[in-house]
Symmetry: C4
């Protein structure tokens, strides 16, 4: 499948591997990424605290409305990010070690969300918790953007998907990253306002991407 | 595989993708759903508390009979729901973004079960805990019903499976949803009675589905 | 693939599905089982407690030698059981709903191991903890034996594997189940002796299976 | 596929199975390993503690800089080790029971990392915590080296990959193992110095492997 037993072997190995040829390898990376997403999203449930020996459970659960909100928000954001990752990886024709490295950094921020989400649920009235949450989500979306940009530059995207994905993945994801970045200074001043900005994440989608594409054209 | 490089691209992308053509994509969604189920079902074990520095472990474990019951019940219910999800997804010919969205909401309720199960195990004598449990299970089964109904309307089900699944998945699942819904007012009055109603979930199956089909015919 | 659109459809659906025809379904069940095993085995790490604000960490870790022993033992036993499950499922030609049901009960006991393992690590000097551990491992191995026996009766095993597996999986697994069962009364009297019996689990293998086969022949 | 129904059956079963023939089996082992890695790497997030009812969250988070460092370090090391495992398993033509056994021991040490990582994050100033961390990482890398060496001896590696992998996997991994081993005595004397040695892990790669190969030639 490739010239072996010659000193230059390492080069070939690092060369971008074609997705079909190396189907098992590609699917392992994809499965690993999906696994981290599935685990992180399911660990979110551990962020909802259960009081011990409480006599008035109703009132206690009332006080944990912040935990439920953080659970729902983080599940929705991680779900949306996973769908985007899912769609983008299906557009890849190949992968290379650098993309795998960026993907690992990206996953490190994804796996951090149960922590920042618990912080948000417990301390939504303190700026630092809201800033942490926004920063971690910004880190997830910006490392995803880096993956997209790199994949185009390194020519890893399927030719027939290039135009479609460029219009979809790129701008839509940059808007998500921008929203979380913009919410950081807002959170520093008014921590209760920032979460409302994040709702915008779910409004970015095809329509916005289409409008951006129309403007470009 | 589809007309690219034209402004209408997004439309084609959203069009329901055929299962065989997009086998890798479909299996990723299925694997992600299975992953969330497997993690949630295995996290249930964390809901059984282990007392620290106990001198009379036997008596302590005795008091945790509620935790064991909640573990067994939740494992059985999640197991049954997973089998239903498993069977239904094998009847799908295609999927589309809306089905993926509903599936994510469904998974958000599945992933919540370790929380509601722990609540039930610790506070089975308080109405609110039992109501929470019943409500979360109702949410899981009703979002599954919505997936089934939508899949039929959007014509995503394999033609040869339509009749079979309509008779199986639909009614059987609605009965499960109905049982959990009906147990909510019961739990409000008599929290210790509601769990007995849930046993009915395991009695719904082929026989009930066949009887419903017979009545229809 | 099967007669559809006729009232008897449900029968065909329940009929044992051939592994190759229903490859995706089979692999989902296998993947789900593997997932529960992988999660349970990795959750074992949470059973090793980390003391907070300890000034003399060395002495504290010394006291947790029981936790390390329980981790190593449970990892080894679950690993061995997974290998056996792995090998047995590769010998199946088909599966049916009853086997799936038994498999779920089996997995419920597998997923319980992180709990019984933590109990053992923390209370290895109390009979009840050792009995719980032995009982949970007995439950895992006996439900596996039931899976094996049922698969043979329901003719789900590949013809070319029947003899091989009968000699391997059956007796070897029964010995494991027997060892854990026999250790329960021992644990009731001398909790510190029972764990030594469990080491026998790792001595059962090909040699024992061959001797049993030789005796039979 | 193999002579059955004869007393020697067990022998054939244990004989190294060809990867393509036993594709499903091989991929299950690979998926199981990936699962343990994905779960362990995602459980790392649970090592970052969240203070309860803190009025000055900023200061509290400041004190947890050690937790964040341990998270980043462990994620990076596990990520790098997974990539190496991933690449090496793609070079295997076959597997056998012994390799599966070594792989399980290897995974037991991988799954232990969330514990040693939490220890490091909480007690980075105590030698014993740093030694534990270095020892667990040494155990992971040395059991991986044993897998590599065994696979070559048992002729399980694809012929066309032998030279390439021998130059890559072997030396690079031995250097990683050596670095962690060497850091143990350092940690005993100066616990704050050892972590700096670990950064060297990320500098070993192609370049070092190429230099080693050049020296050999």
């Amino acid at each position: 499948m490739a010239p072996e037993r010659e000193p230059l072997g390492a080069l070939q190995q690092d060369a971008a591997r074609h997705r079909d040829e190396w189907g098992i390898e590609f699917s392992r990376i994809v499965a690993f990424s999906d696994g981290v997403f599935a685990i992180a999203i399911t660990l979110l449930v551990l962020t909802i605290e259960i009081p011990e020996n409480s006599h008035d459970l109703t009132r206690v659960l009332d006080n944990q409305i912040g935990d439920f909100f953080a659970y729902a928000l983080s599940f929705a954001v991680l779900g949306k990010l996973w769908l985007a990752h899912h769609r983008f990886f299906s557009a890849l024709a190949r992968f290379d070690p650098i993309l795998m490295g960026i993907n690992l950094v990206y996953l490190a921020f994804v796996a951090l969300v149960p922590f920042t989400s618990e912080l948000l649920g417990d301390y939504s009235n303190q700026s630092i918790a809201v800033i942490f949450y926004a920063a971690s989500m910004f880190a997830v979306s910006i490392t995803f953007t880096i993956q997209i940009v790199y994949s185009y530059r390194a020519d890893l995207v399927k030719p027939e998907m290039r135009d479609l994905e460029r219009r979809m993945a790129g701008p839509s994801n940059l808007i998500v990253a921008g929203l979380f970045l913009a919410s950081i200074p807002v959170a520093a001043i008014a921590p209760s306002v920032a979460p409302f900005m994040w709702i915008g994440v779910f409004l970015t989608g095809r329509r916005v991407a289409d409008r951006v594409a129309a403007l470009r054209a």
